[in-house]
Symmetry: C2
Subunit: 119 residues, 2 copies
């Protein structure tokens, strides 16, 4: 059973965090059963934390968890902080396949999406 956890930075503005939670809901609706569980987690300033969000996915029955960084650039958060949080959970759950997908900004389709914003 596969789970998807979208991870964002987290903000002092609760509205920004709610945007991410709503996005997780839209992902859940759009993934059409590819993921039995879709959740979200935050690096800081909001709950659940990334380890807690992965834990929730595992408790839902997932044996594979895909962590998807909702970030635009490959800064320290993407290259170091998120992998460090994921490492903690891999050590706690060596039987679960926890992988990190490429961050959003790395998607080839981002150019087309940007152009669609200026139609």
């Amino acid at each position: 059973m596969k789970a998807l956890v979208i991870v964002a930075h987290g903000s002092r503005r609760s509205q920004s965090n709610d945007e991410v939670r709503e996005l997780a809901q839209r992902l859940r609706a759009s993934s059409k059963g590819r993921f039995a569980y879709v959740g979200c987690g935050f690096l800081e300033l909001a709950e659940p934390s990334i380890p807690a969000s992965i834990q929730l996915a595992i408790e839902s029955g997932a044996d594979q968890v895909v962590v998807l960084p909702y970030f635009l650039s490959a800064g320290r958060h993407v290259s170091e902080d998120i992998p460090a949080e994921v490492r903690i959970m891999r050590e706690l759950h060596p039987d679960i396949d926890i992988r990190i997908a490429p961050y959003l900004g790395a998607a080839a389709g981002v150019v087309e999406l940007l152009l669609s914003q200026v139609e």
Copy 2:
């Protein structure tokens, strides 16, 4: 003549700023002549600034400049800081149509793009 200026936050990591500059190049290649000029600007920590990037677009001959915020959430930068920078340039150039497109995170297609990252 239309110009497109993608605006990002800017980072202390020069690599992140270069990612945005490369994105502007890809937008230039993909926009297939819809925009005679495509540039980028930064809110802070990198050059050119947003007013300077709009100025460059105007000097290239644009009479319409579309400012496209490369941001994922509608925080203060999107709701206040970018509009304030744009306002300065509208006052300096009342004859130029300077508009702000919806920020990237508001795009309906972001869900599909995220799902394409976990293929």
